[in-house]
């Protein structure tokens, strides 16, 4: 969102329409104005077309990767080392609704378990991180107090805390959710501080001179202006949450996608390993597309 408030923010896509001067009537519907409006719509159409092209190109890239994978698997002919795409998909559908013998649960159940851990931890983490970041942005003392703590915590892999959380919180759902929270909070706090710092003081003053109260300005201007940056932070935090949850499920869980992948690996069922990875990839993609959609809603200059 940098550049939002620069003098010539964004691409000035339309040549300046002739302002109403003393010479010609103010707000005249001259042909120049109509052309400009048509130009605006043409520009939006062009951006939409460019986006469609981009998505199509990306899809072609993924399709190419699948073709390469299938070809490599067929050439290699070793089902354990590298199962083919079709074997992976077959294994996915086989276990989707049928219990996996080593665990007694179908794949959808493990997906549900992993997703629930992530979403609970993520929601708490985002709420906590944004609150903390807002407090740091609002108060110099809070910022100077919390900043070093976050800077120490942020580079630590959350996985280092797993043994501690198990000792403190047992082996239930809580330690997994807390692990996600611990990963998400510092990142969201840092992103929120940066986002709020980026909002110019004059934007706040502008809202106040337009008659907005302090509270209205905080909510509808400062936090609203920071929203795209915060959503970008959420996309990053979500990626981190997935790596944490899969790792903790491999080490200390009896359910979840990470556990299934670990088990399948132990039994040399690589097709199921790939199926598990595929489920994570698709689910993470769907969530990211959702967050990206929110980002586009929040920041019109990114559309197209």
């Amino acid at each position: 969102m940098s550049g939002w408030y620069s003098p010539h923010a964004g691409a000035a896509v339309i040549e300046d329409a002739r302002p109403p001067g003393p010479g010609h009537g103010p707000g005249s519907d001259g042909p120049g104005d109509l052309d400009d409006r048509a130009e605006l719509f043409a520009h939006r159409r062009a951006r939409r077309r460019a986006r469609t092209r981009r998505v199509a190109t990306g899809a072609a890239g993924i399709a190419g990767l699948l073709v390469l994978w299938q070809a490599a698997a067929m050439l290699l002919g070793d089902q354990v080392a590298l199962p083919s795409v079709s074997q992976t998909v077959a294994q996915f559908f086989h276990y989707l609704n049928r219990p996996y013998p080593a665990q007694g649960k179908p794949l959808w159940y493990d997906l549900y378990i992993s997703l629930r851990r992530i979403l609970i931890g993520f929601a708490i983490g985002v709420a906590g991180g944004v609150t903390l970041g807002s407090a740091m942005s609002a108060s110099r003392v809070v910022r100077h107090l919390i900043d070093p703590v976050i800077e120490i915590l942020r580079p630590l892999p959350p996985l280092a805390f797993i043994p501690l959380f198990i000792v403190w919180l047992g082996i239930g759902e809580t330690p997994k959710e807390v692990l996600i929270v611990v990963g998400v909070v510092p990142l969201m706090a840092v992103m929120t501080v940066a986002a709020l710092d980026e909002v110019p003081d004059d934007l706040r003053l502008c809202a106040r001179t337009l008659g907005a109260s302090r509270g209205y300005t905080l909510l509808h201007v400062q936090i609203r202006a920071a929203l795209p940056f915060i959503l970008t932070g959420m996309r990053l935090a979500m990626a981190g949450a997935w790596s944490s949850i899969v790792a903790v499920e491999m080490i200390a869980a009896t359910s979840g996608l990470g556990y299934v992948i670990q088990q399948a690996g132990d039994y040399l069922d690589t097709a199921l390993v790939f199926a598990g990875i595929l489920v994570i990839a698709i689910t993470a993609l769907v969530i990211d597309v959702g967050l990206r959609g929110l980002l586009l809603l929040a920041d019109p200059s990114r559309r197209g």
Partner: protein, 280 residues
């Protein structure tokens, strides 16, 4: 001057006038205004002993080099900064905090990037309604916003987002947004400083046309002598140590003025006078 005792009086509908309503112009009186910034134990005198009267409906330019306190002075009138000496009144009332009777325009248009042009214009009226300053309903506010967008020549672009507008159009949108809250005083802080030369000329024509039409008081901050002479009824030259107003110079040029007038003999004479006041 129209009676504008309380902001609440704006609740009276002004439907017939629409966007072409005449705003009450407020006079500004500064007496003995001083401001000292304290940071890390260091004291910096930003302004000292400023006396200035701005007449209702006047377009006054504050001219001076960087750091001469012109932005500070503007922000004190806006209510964004408190002065620590002297007093400031706008329309006879002492200034305390920002309020919609004193509109402000900045070097960057400061449009809300997530709102369309029309919603940017509606921001002020809606924010004011949310704190109970008026009870006008959406259709009425929207009609007024559309009328003002028509006036500034942006009716075609009411649903465009700020990033889709050119620099000049963004400034006109910001102007419309400030105007719709019916300010009696407009404070402009080097509003066209970042624009290219041609767009600046167009914005000067635009501002003069709008000022002729709405007849509100404007305090216009600039470091460009030519801009000050072209726009102002009077030019207050700032500078000195401690910073203050050195001289207030009348601009004896007729109205309406045009950006083409800048190389006439009379114009150049005023410009020379102001330049010598600046460097003295």
């Amino acid at each position: 001057m129209a009676a504008r005792a309380e902001p609440a009086s704006e609740a009276v509908p002004d439907a017939a006038a629409g966007g072409a309503r005449a705003a009450g112009a407020a006079g500004v009186l500064l007496s003995g205004v001083g401001k000292t910034f304290r940071r890390a134990g260091r004291r910096t005198v930003a302004l000292a002993g400023v006396d200035l009267e701005v007449r209702p409906g006047e377009l006054l330019c504050l001219l001076g080099p960087s750091g001469c306190g012109k932005s500070t002075l503007l922000r004190i009138v806006a209510g964004a900064l408190d002065c620590d000496q002297g007093s400031v009144t706008v329309g006879g009332r002492a200034v305390s905090g920002p309020a919609p009777d004193r509109g402000m325009l900045f070097q960057t248009p400061m449009l809300f990037p997530w709102l369309t042009t029309r919603k940017n214009v509606l921001f002020g009226p809606r924010a004011q309604r949310s704190r109970g300053l008026h009870e006008r309903d959406d259709p009425e506010l929207e009609a007024e916003a559309d009328a003002i967008l028509e006036t500034v020549g942006l009716a075609q672009f009411s649903d465009a987002f700020p990033h889709e507008l050119s620099g000049g159009m963004q400034h006109r949108a910001a102007f419309a947004r400030a105007l719709v809250t019916r300010p009696s005083l407009l404070l402009m802080d080097e509003p066209f400083g970042a624009l290219d030369a041609l767009t600046r000329v167009r914005m000067h024509e635009f501002l003069l046309a709008m000022w002729e039409r709405y007849r509100i008081t404007i305090i216009f901050v600039t470091h460009d002598i030519e801009e000050a002479v072209l726009l102002g009824d009077r030019v207050a030259v700032m500078g000195g140590r401690p910073p203050g107003i050195k001289q207030v110079i009348d601009v004896p040029l007729g109205r309406p003025r045009s950006a083409l007038d800048v190389d006439t003999e009379g114009f150049l004479a005023v410009k020379r006078g102001i330049r010598s006041s600046l460097v003295s």
